[in-house]
Amino acid sequence: MAKSSSTGSAKKKKSKGKINKKLSSLNSDSKKIKGPKENPFESIWSRRKFNILGKKRKDDERRRIGLSRSLAIQKRQKTLLKEYEQSTNAKRQLKLKKKSKFNLSDGEEDDFEIQGGGYFPERDDFEDDEPFYGDYYDDELPDGRNKRQFNPHEAEGDPDSRSAEEQNRPKTKKEVMEDIIFKSKFFKAQKAKEKEESEQFTEQLDKDFASLVQSEALLSLTQPNKMSALNSLVNNRNSNDAAKKEVAPRMHNKVSIQHEKPDHYDKLVSEMALDMRARPSDRTKAPEELAQEEKERLEQLEEERRKRMAAGDGDDSSNEDADNSEDDVGEVSKQISHISGDDLGDSFSDVIPKTKAVWIDDLLTKNSVTDPEAEDDPTSGEEENDNEEDDDDDDASEDEEGEGSEESSDEDEKAQPLKDSEQSDEEQIDLEDEEDDDRDDATGKKVIMENQKKILVTKGNQNNDSGAFRVKPIVKEDVHKRGELPYTIEAPKCFEEFSALLENYSDDQVVEAIRRIRTYNAIAVAAENRKKMQVFYGILLQYFAVLSSTKPLNFKLINMLVKPLMEMSTETPYFAAICARQRLLRTRTLFCQDISNTGKNCWPSLKTLFHMRLWSMIFPCSDFRHAVMTPAILLMSEYLMRCPITSGRDIAVGSFLCSMLLSVSRQSQKFCPEAITVLQTILRAALTNRQRYEASQLCHLMELKALKPLLHMQERVEDINSLDFLTLMDLPDDSPYFTSDNFRASILCAIIRCLKGFVDINEGFKSFPEIFLPIAKILDGLAEEDLMPDALKVEIKDVSQVIEIKSEEFQSLQLPLRIRKQKVIKTAIPKFEDNFVKGRDYDPDRERVERKKLKKQLQQEARGAVRELRKDNHFLFEVKERDKARMQEEKTEMYGKYRAFLQEQEHAFKSGQLGKNKKRRR
């Protein structure tokens, strides 16, 4: 009985609770919906009324306090409230567990109610649970109300606040359904909005497109060649005009455009489609592809050449005129090539960096030129050769390709046995080095000699050739005295191979051969070419060494080798550096051996000097530390410091090394004590004995290298001509030229100029007077000499004056070193700031400032945290208060109900209707 009654009451309470829920949710909902929507305080901007002096004005000073407050409240509702609810839930569940420990489970209902934060009859008995109860209502009630009040929400388009609240609690089925409905509506609204945006966007795009069409970039994209370029240009112009016309009205009435636009656009698109479709291949080529094409071109050329070789020379003369005319076309197209090239059209400036890509580009354009040229008649080539050789090396060699003997190429190809390709780089270097010294002279001379005697040799070769082609080559040889290069040349694997390859060719052809080897084996084409090219680089370097140590120096060829060497170094910088370092090491060990043999001249050879120069061109000299240049500079300095100066030639080499060091250290303005010392020593060699004695009194530092008066002028010399380095290096040690006054004057001139350079780059040094004043004294001594040529005197005086002026300037300005850090002495005198700004910290102690700043920040943060906590408390308090109020309300309501019920009963009892009523109740 009791149980049944309890369950009954429970049911009743549930139904009543639901009603209550609905009621309260109605209340709260209306509150919440109205709250954010029309809070008039949120729209109020606070603003600063007066400018306060010395106070920084921030732009975000203006803010809406009301809004931020409500935002903070919202945030709390999202975070704090949620936590609070969860904690209450957890407590409730804890209690529930305790309670239900001994209860039989009611099955699904139980679970459901736990999940849904259901209503439990037991809870009524506990006063503590009242807040939870209220909470429960608070949560549940709005849902009930939602059913009715949802639509208006949606209409107002404020789904965010709602959904945010809904996330906070589990949903009922109805809720879910409502959610779905709401969402679909929301998405509809969103879609509409997006549509509008996309419309705007397309409009914008149209505008952009119109401007794009007007610009020439698009034209260049769509037009790969001249003819079609004109076509599309016209097309585009038309369409552009149309577009332009369209743009103006579009601005005025958008609606009309939306109707018109698609048509126009479609038209445009169809036009564009016609334009574009034909050329998918006109993208910018990658460097690898360019290299590949270049290689293929060479292969093709080679193939053609062979075909021609097989077919004989019947059609040669007929092509002559055509070729020449085509040549002209080629020239024209070469000039155009920059414009119609692969650039994206955004760089219309004429300044095109001379990179490798461009170089290849040039070759590509030449491709069309050289193709027919390959079939060129030999006799026509000669004139061209003479005309063009002066203009451009490439052109000249390009011409020479077409001529010459063909049998040599065959031989060359046979002479390329595929040796061990696994040869490692190190081995290669070692080999080179060994070979270098052994054969630098021997092979080099051989190569050169044979280069010079190539006519004889090629004639000899012809005898071995097959009879069919004998006549023609001989004729050619007699006319041109040149050999023809094969187009495709495998990278040689050793120096012999290379020298055999170049045996019969002229300088230009050698360079062309190197170029072809590089193109044919370009690293960009295939990865395994890297190794080949590295080997070839080593060979080329060796060739350079051989050339520079041969006696009749072929300086032109050496100069021509510089470019390929430099370009190849950029391809394999690491390998180039290793080669250079190995050579440096080798040179130094040789130098050390030389210097230990007394009596041997250990000044660097021409080869070494050339190498040094080459490296200083390939690698940057101004680096603080460079893998190649640092040892190289060190070695040059060592030469200067350790080699004894005994002859005029030594002076020449020494002063040349000095100027090399000058050029190397010019950019970074480094200090080279060795060079300056040597210059000083050499200058002292120009003084008379008496002066020398005085000078040595003045600076006895130089005792180390006291010289004979090698440079002292004996007679008057009128003209000073600059020294020719190469002939000078060629002369033997005891050549009379080195003791001539002409040489003396010239070398003095060179030295003075070099010294001037050092004075210029070292002027910033703190010890400038100490370094250069002794030299200035020597210079003064020199200037006093009678036999000194006047021009030289002027220069000497000039330099010494520069030194003196600079020293004086220096000495008047220079201050003693103040390396130590300053210690701040405490002072009682207050410090006044001229334009004091309030709020800025003028504390000189940085650490203290930092500390202060941190403290302030900490304080601020702490205050902020306290404030936040306080606000949180307020918020929670409010929530609890609200709950309590609601509970109270409910209680009073219930109380009223029961009281009414009781009063009713009492009334019935008093009026005698008890039984009837009781019956009904039961």
Partner: protein
């Protein structure tokens, strides 16, 4: 008569074959009757005779004399009144024996004879030396041998010297007597030299021979290992299994008491010292001089009984200047630090040694280390430290990179040790600081001080001044260190920079070990750079790749015409015309 005998000898020599010689030797050994074979055999022991003959006769004679030697009377003894025939015979034998040793010494010293033979000869001489003096060490023979070696014209690297040093110098007594005879030799050599100088006109001819003998003496002396104080077992050459009592007796006949090995070591030390001192008083040629200076501090000084005795020699060398001074410094330093030598004007001389040639000298490593330790004392006056600092850094402006590195290390240490010279790197210009400097300043010239205040930019340091007192280093500043920061060599510029950074901080920084840098040279720096792993290789950037190696803009005063090119161009022009 004598000539007849010699002729006979000659004939005999020609007649006798090797087997006959052998037979004669056998006969000599069997009985006294054949004693006349002795002079015959003796005649074969000359540098001129063929080696097998000499060898054969030597063997026979040696075996003949060895048992007889103890019985032989001393050569100085006069024949008595009563001529006992036995005694006469022995005296005759004695004279023959002396003759033999003389011949042997000649043979050993002659450079013509065979190497192997000379080795045997040396061995037999040493055998005689062993027992030659009535079973005791025969000093006179040994002395004669050494004298002959030294005075002969043998080269310094002759095998006899090597053999002697190798085989016999590990015997204590041999070493001992070598020392004593060298002492005598050195004395006589000097006298002879004086005589020669006074008498001979052609001094130049004789001079080299003395140099040669000095060189040889040095070589032998250098080979003598001085005794260690606590050497347990002394290896004796003349030790024929007798007890230690007798062993000691060999040193001095009179002293029969038991002498400990310690005593022997002491004696040895004395002799060693005397030998060295007398040797050093000789006029040494320059190369020997240098070598002596090197070996002195390494192996000699510590074994001398009284090292201070060297101070004459060393101060003399130190005063010579240049490389010799640098080398003498190390020995002198040992004397000063370990043996309490006081050397006036040491620092002035040390200062005078600082020259640019220092950086190319062979022994610079040791010198720099010594320089560092000489300047270690915190009692050095400020002017001295400042002068050294300044002088060194001036040198750095002209030194190779390795030298610059050492100098930076030295200057760093100086500045760290002597806070009183911190004004070299930090000086405030103002009234307060000048008072400080004047207080520190010992030099009495006030005029230049005013100058300094007027023009602080001028370096008042007098580089040429040899007396550190007058260099005015106190009125200078170390601008050179700042200049070195721009040095082309990365280690130098980096080191200079780190020095400046170290100095900027007031706290004391540990000293730099100079030995890390002192042995540097171009080779080491170059090697370091080459050994450095190549991580990345930047390349020079050109807008247009240059096509020729030299441009005349970069090299003013030079042209780079190519004759070859010129001629070819000309030819071409002619062709085209």
């Amino acid at each position: 008569m004598a000539s007849v005998a010699s002729e006979k000898k000659k004939q005999k020599r020609e007649k006798h074959t090797l087997s006959e010689l052998k037979a004669m030797g056998q006969q000599l050994l069997t009985s006294r009757a054949h004693v006349n074979n002795l002079p015959l055999l003796l005649s074969f022991i000359t540098p001129n005779s063929p080696p097998p003959y000499a060898l054969e006769s030597l063997l026979s004679l040696q075996s003949f004399f060895t048992p007889l030697i103890p019985q032989l009377p001393s050569s100085s003894k006069q024949p008595d009144a009563d001529p006992d025939p036995e005694f006469i015979y022995l005296t005759w034998l004695r004279s023959k024996f002396d003759e033999l040793t003389q011949c042997l010494t000649d043979l050993a010293v002659s450079s013509q004879s065979d190497g192997a033979l000379r080795e045997v000869v040396l061995d037999s001489i040493m055998e005689f030396v062993k027992v030659g003096n009535a079973g005791k060490f025969n000093t006179s023979v040994y002395h004669k041998l050494l004298r002959a070696i030294v005075r002969s014209e043998l080269g310094v690297d002759d095998i006899v010297l090597d053999m002697l040093a190798e085989k016999y110098f590990n015997y204590v007594d041999v070493r001992y007597f070598t020392c004593s005879s060298f002492e005598k030799l050195a004395r006589t050599l000097e006298k002879e030299e004086n005589k020669e100088v006074s008498q001979d006109v052609n001094d130049l001819v004789l001079r080299p021979s003395i140099e040669l003998s000095i060189q040889k003496m040095y070589k032998l002396l250098a080979c003598i290992q001085p005794l260690k104080d606590v050497e347990e077992k002394l290896e004796m050459w003349n030790d024929s299994g007798i007890s230690s009592q007798d062993k000691e007796g060999k040193y001095k006949k009179s002293n029969d008491n038991v002498l400990s090995s310690k005593n022997a070591a002491k004696k040895m030390k004395q002799k060693f010292t005397k030998a060295w001192i007398s040797f050093l008083s000789l006029p040494l040629p320059l190369d020997v001089y240098k070598e002596v200076l090197v070996t002195l501090h390494q192996s000699v000084i510590s074994h001398l009984s009284n090292p201070i005795m060297l101070c004459d020699f060393l101060t003399r060398s130190y005063d010579i200047g240049g490389v010799v001074s640098v080398m003498a410094l190390s020995s002198l330093f040992i004397l000063m630090t370990q043996h309490g030598l006081e050397y006036p004007n040491f620092y002035n001389k040390l200062y005078a040694l600082l020259e640019p040639s220092l950086f190319m000298a062979k022994h610079r490593s040791k010198f720099f280390q010594l320089l560092d330790s000489c300047l270690k004392s915190s009692l050095l006056p400020a002017y001295l430290a400042a002068a050294f600092c300044k002088k060194l850094s001036r040198l750095a402006l002209f030194a190779p990179p390795s030298g610059a590195l050492v100098i930076i290390a030295l200057v760093h240490n100086l500045l760290q040790r002597h806070p009183s010279i911190s004004f070299l790197v930090h000086r405030e210009i103002g009234p307060d600081t000048t008072a400080d400097t004047s207080a520190e300043n010992n030099t009495p010239d006030g005029a230049s001080k005013d100058l300094f205040e007027e023009k602080p930019g001028i370096d008042h340091f007098k580089n040429e001044e040899n007396d550190p007192r007058n260099t005015n280093a106190m009125r200078s500043s170390l601008w050179e260190i700042d200049t070195l920061r721009h040095h082309y060599s990365p280690p130098v510029s980096r080191f200079a920079l780190s020095l400046a950074n170290d100095l900027a901080v007031r706290s004391r920084i540990p000293e730099i070990a100079v030995s890390d840098f002192s042995s540097g040279s171009y080779a080491t720096i170059f090697g370091d750079e080459i050994r450095r792993r190549v991580k990345q290789v930047p390349l020079a950037f050109y807008k247009t790749t240059p096509t020729c190696l030299f441009s005349e803009l970069d090299f003013p005063g030079w042209t780079f015409r190519d004759d070859h090119q010129d001629t070819s161009a000309k030819r071409k022009r002619v062709d085209s015309v």
